[in-house]
């Protein structure tokens, strides 16, 4: 057990190093952007109104001071680190002085809800079908599914998303193609609101599932195809162990370790949002927030989203690293 604690401590220190490196890189990348939030605001307020050149210059100076952009970059970096340690990522420059984390908090539930459900659903269905296809290699149904998966998997996501909008929003308009919920329902725990959220989530979730399914299916099928030729599987079959038990306990379980790692990373990646889905389906979430922040040069919001994503991915990897030795004896030995 003490060996495991040393291992856990090492992994935790690595986690801290990854988070520090990740947020520092995010800071500098966000600040390397050529897009100035000051110029974005000036363009907005003066672009289509009667603003004199002198007034524009005066506004520029005021905003630069207000946003703290008149101090050197290294000073901004240390200010950021100090605030980061206490969980404060500063005010958004696009919605000054609203805290950037407040904007992230508003968008986060949508992204987490949509992506967690679609990722887990995709993972479960893909792996189960992939596992079965790898074991029952003569099943016509599973072979047909494999052909469909190979056909769908390389289609770019945005094509699938647009096709779904066109099919279910235009040719056969039965599902809402934009928004998170209907405009005439009151957000609450009422059946109307929950129903509306689910209805509006069908198309975005389905598009993600359709595209994601093939990857998990093909990966799992390949893993299982290798495992079924292992001696212990042949031995189990000769020993008369029930086929269902061989598939679930001997084959899929062994193939699951790399898939679980990949799932953890996918779940961690959820926190960076899904930009194309949100754009195509006008669905709220972190992706839309990130795009707006990048386009407007709002480094505070870009940083807030990036920090959440860095911490989420690093935490997911840490957890998986900590759990693996408990699940897989081979890792424990190493």
């Amino acid at each position: 057990m003490s060996t495991y604690l040393v291992f856990a401590l090492k992994r935790f220190l690595q986690f801290l190093a990854v988070v520090f490196t990740g947020v520092s890189a995010s800071f500098f990348i966000a600040h390397l952007s050529p897009i100035s939030p000051v110029e974005t605001i000036i363009g907005r307020v003066s672009g289509q109104s009667a603003f004199s050149p002198e007034a524009v210059e005066s506004l520029r100076q005021t905003l630069t001071e207000l946003f703290g952009l008149n101090v050197p970059l290294h000073e901004q970096y240390f200010n950021f680190l100090r605030r980061f340690l206490v969980g404060d990522l500063g005010p958004s420059l696009l919605a000054f002085p609203t805290p950037a984390m407040k904007l992230v908090g508003l968008a986060l539930p949508w992204t987490v809800g949509l992506l967690t459900l679609s990722t887990i659903l995709t993972w479960l269905v893909g792996n189960i079908l992939g596992g079965l296809a790898g074991y029952y290699q003569n099943s016509r149904l599973l072979k047909a599914f494999g052909i469909v998966a190979i056909g769908v998997q390389p289609i770019p996501y945005y094509i699938v998303a647009f096709l779904m909008v066109i099919i279910f929003g235009f040719l056969w308009p039965v599902l809402p193609v934009s928004g998170g919920f209907a405009m005439n329902v009151r957000p609450s725990w009422s059946p109307e609101f929950v129903g509306s959220i689910l209805l509006h989530g069908i198309l975005p979730a389905a598009s993600l599932v359709i595209v994601g399914l093939g990857t998990w299916f093909l990966g799992m099928r390949a893993l299982v195809s290798n495992i079924v030729t292992e001696d212990y599987v042949t031995y189990a079959e000769l020993a008369g162990v029930r086929r269902e038990r061989i598939v679930s306990s001997y084959v899929i379980r062994n193939a699951m370790v790399p898939q679980l790692t990949a799932l953890a990373m996918s779940l961690g990646g959820i926190f960076s949002g899904t930009i194309i889905t949100e754009q195509v389906f006008s669905y709220p979430g972190l992706g839309t927030l990130l795009v707006r922040a990048v386009n407007a040069g709002d480094s505070a919001v870009v940083l807030a989203v990036s920090c959440v994503a860095v911490i989420a991915v690093a935490t997911a990897i840490l957890l998986i690293d900590l759990i693996h030795p408990l699940l897989d004896p081979r890792i424990r030995v190493e």
Partner: protein, 636 residues
């Protein structure tokens, strides 16, 4: 068992997400369950991305994330005057909160405004001169508000002479001070003194729910900023808009829909009445799919010409473009028909002169200057030519007719309104003579500059859309004539490249006008040489070309001394146009056509190009509120 646990975990996550969504919404707003009958509800596309700070309505603070064109500045806020980019209901100049036009003293150092009486804020308080004084003084003493800088620059003092009269004393003569309170797209909105005077920190106040002078109040909004619903005030007749009639819709919904394809689908499905813009191809598809949908024009080119003028901008601090013969040669190498087809699939409204062909400008500028343009002579060094071709619009109409048939007008006047009055005819021989007279030589198919180097430059253009297509086609045409021109897409063209002068030539615009008035001060004042920055320094809006000319300065200085409504402004405008043709400091190409669409399934009375061009149909312009007074439900 594990699968069961995973499923349970998923359900937990979903519950937490929905709980988070519900809680977030309740914090922002809690609209009651309501339905919005279509005969009472107008649904408008807001082109802005979803609001980043959805519960913020204090749009007097710069950069606080308040959405503007979500209905707030169209339906709720108000100010002294509006200048419509189109014809207007009774002329383009509206007295809105002001009872009459501005009154200046002799030397334009004082301005007096008489206000309407009997106007109420949406909470029942009376609108008075104190509100105007408060608006100006608060922003003057609070840096970082939208109008802090212009007020501080111009206003010495402001006082309420009585409840309905405001008097401004200015720091320096300014014949266009009223422009600050005149809405073209936006303007200095009046603040409710009785609300903001009780607020400790004006810049941090969210102004939620907003209290306005317009005929609508906030009903509810999406906590994620995708939609805003506004409801007509019962006392709408106590607003300034009432002079033009009762707004038709009881509810107005503004929806942010980033994808243009989804906008199209939502209109076809009857979930949108007005679309801000589509791609040209999207518009062609919409009118095919939906018989009740249309654009500004009933047929081709459909789009509404904005009072902005896409053009080729030369950097005059680059020695390659300092000789006007070179600029003219570059203009004569262009084929406007190909540019129109490449950028707008033919749906462009061309303009050879430096005034956009929209609003009242064709009547004030393009039509009266036709004879001058037709007879205009250009000396190439070897011959005198007449470069203007008044038939180019007609030629483009003929080019698109095989594809669009009856949708293309046949009446010559209608074609001129839709496709433009004419442009320079492509004349490679004349361009060659001009370049040779400027000391250029041709080696093979490559033009060489007088210093012996190849004539080569980058043409910076938009990163996407019609202006990108226009830039690419122009670069291609110049390259075909032996100039090494590379089109470079630049997403930062307006925020940094043009202001910093880090470009050689660009396709963008530096001309924007009121649209509904011949006065050109909206952009022209900033073109005075006093504002031209040194190379490497940031150039203030809008003279991106950094062009200086003593005759231009004379025109601007006379405009400054001429009252806004004085007919002399039009004469000065004509002088400006002629100077621009002579010097060709930029190459004007066309108006910025916006493919706005509306649907007549549920509402009628929208403005049209052919019969009632009373307002701009582009939905994010604040003047679009006048449209609401003309709408009637179809009762479908």
């Amino acid at each position: 068992m594990r699968k069961l646990m995973t499923l349970l975990a998923s359900l937990l996550v979903a519950s937490l997400a929905i709980g988070g969504i519900a809680r977030g919404q309740e914090e922002a707003a809690a609209p009651p369950l309501n339905e919005f009958p279509r005969e009472e509800t107008l649904i408008i596309n807001n082109p802005e991305p979803p609001a980043i700070n959805p519960g913020m309505f204090n749009m007097w603070v710069a950069g606080n994330g308040a959405a503007w064109s979500n209905g707030l500045h169209q339906l709720v806020l108000d100010t002294l005057w509006f200048i419509d980019p189109d014809a207007g209901l009774d002329g383009a100049l509206y007295n809105q909160l002001a009872k009459e036009r501005w009154q200046y003293n002799e030397d334009f150092t004082e301005m007096t405004v008489r206000l309407r009486e009997g106007i109420l804020w949406s909470d029942g308080e009376e609108f008075t001169a104190d509100d105007v004084v408060f608006t100006v003084e608060t922003q003057m003493k609070t840096p970082g508000m939208v109008w802090s800088a212009p007020f501080s620059q111009y206003v010495e003092s402001v006082k309420a002479v009585d409840d309905h009269t405001v008097h401004f004393t200015l720091k320096q003569p300014n014949s266009r001070f009223h422009s600050i309170f005149s809405v073209r797209w936006n303007g200095a909105w009046i603040m409710p003194e009785h609300i903001f005077s009780k607020v400790e920190d004006v810049t941090a106040y969210d102004f939620n729910p907003p209290v306005g002078l317009g005929p609508y109040t906030l009903h509810s909004y999406d906590p994620n900023g995708y939609w805003y619903i506004w409801q007509k005030r019962e006392d709408w007749d106590k607003t300034a808009l009432a002079e033009w009639g009762e707004p038709g819709p009881k509810y107005v919904i503004y929806r942010s829909i980033p994808s243009t394809d989804t906008r199209l689908i939502e209109m076809v499905n009857g979930n949108l009445d007005m679309i801000h813009d589509l791609t040209p191809e999207g518009m062609f598809s919409l009118v095919k799919q939906s018989p009740t949908s249309r654009g500004w024009f009933p047929g081709f080119p459909f789009a509404h010409p904005d009072p902005t003028l896409p053009m080729v901008i030369f950097n005059h601090q680059n020695e390659k473009f300092q000789d006007k013969r070179v600029r003219w040669a570059l203009a004569l190498m262009l084929d406007a028909r190909a540019i129109s087809m490449a950028s707008y699939r033919g749906a462009a409204t061309l303009s050879a002169i430096a005034v956009p062909p929209t609003g009242t400008h064709p009547k004030d500028y393009h039509a009266p200057l036709q004879d001058w343009l037709v007879n205009y002579e250009l000396d190439t060094g070897k011959q005198k030519i007449k470069p203007y071709d008044p038939t180019i619009g007609l030629q483009i109409a003929d080019m698109v007719r095989p594809q669009f048939g009856d949708q293309v007008p046949t009446d010559e006047e209608a074609i001129r309104t839709a496709f433009g009055y004419g442009w320079w005819k492509q004349d490679i021989q004349a361009a060659t003579e001009l370049l040779e007279s400027a000391g250029f030589t041709k080696q093979g198919n490559q033009w060489m500059m007088p210093n012996g180097e190849p004539f080569a430059f980058k043409l910076t253009t938009f990163s996407e859309g019609v202006i990108n297509r226009m830039g690419t086609m122009i670069a291609q045409q110049w390259s075909q004539q032996g100039i090494q021109v590379t089109a470079e897409a630049d997403p930062e063209i307006y925020r940094s490249t043009l202001p910093l002068g880090t470009y050689e030539a660009a396709t963008a615009w530096s001309v924007e006008t009121w649209g509904g008035d011949p006065d050109l001060s909206f952009f022209l004042d900033s073109w005075h040489s006093q504002y031209v920055a040194e190379p490497g320094k940031r150039q203030p809006h809008r003279n991106w070309q950094r062009w200086k000319n003593p005759n231009l300065d004379k025109i601007i200085e006379e405009v400054r001394k001429t009252e806004f409504t004085d007919p002399r402004n039009l004469e000065l405008g004509h002088e400006f146009v002629k100077l621009m043709v002579d010097e060709m400091p930029v190459i004007p190409v066309m108006s910025f056509n916006v493919f706005s669409a509306y649907d007549t399934r549920y509402w009628t009375g929208f403005p049209t190009a052919e019969e009632r061009p009373y307002a701009n149909i582009v939905t994010n312009w604040a003047n679009s509120k006048y449209i609401l007074t003309q709408l009637k439900p179809t009762k479908q």
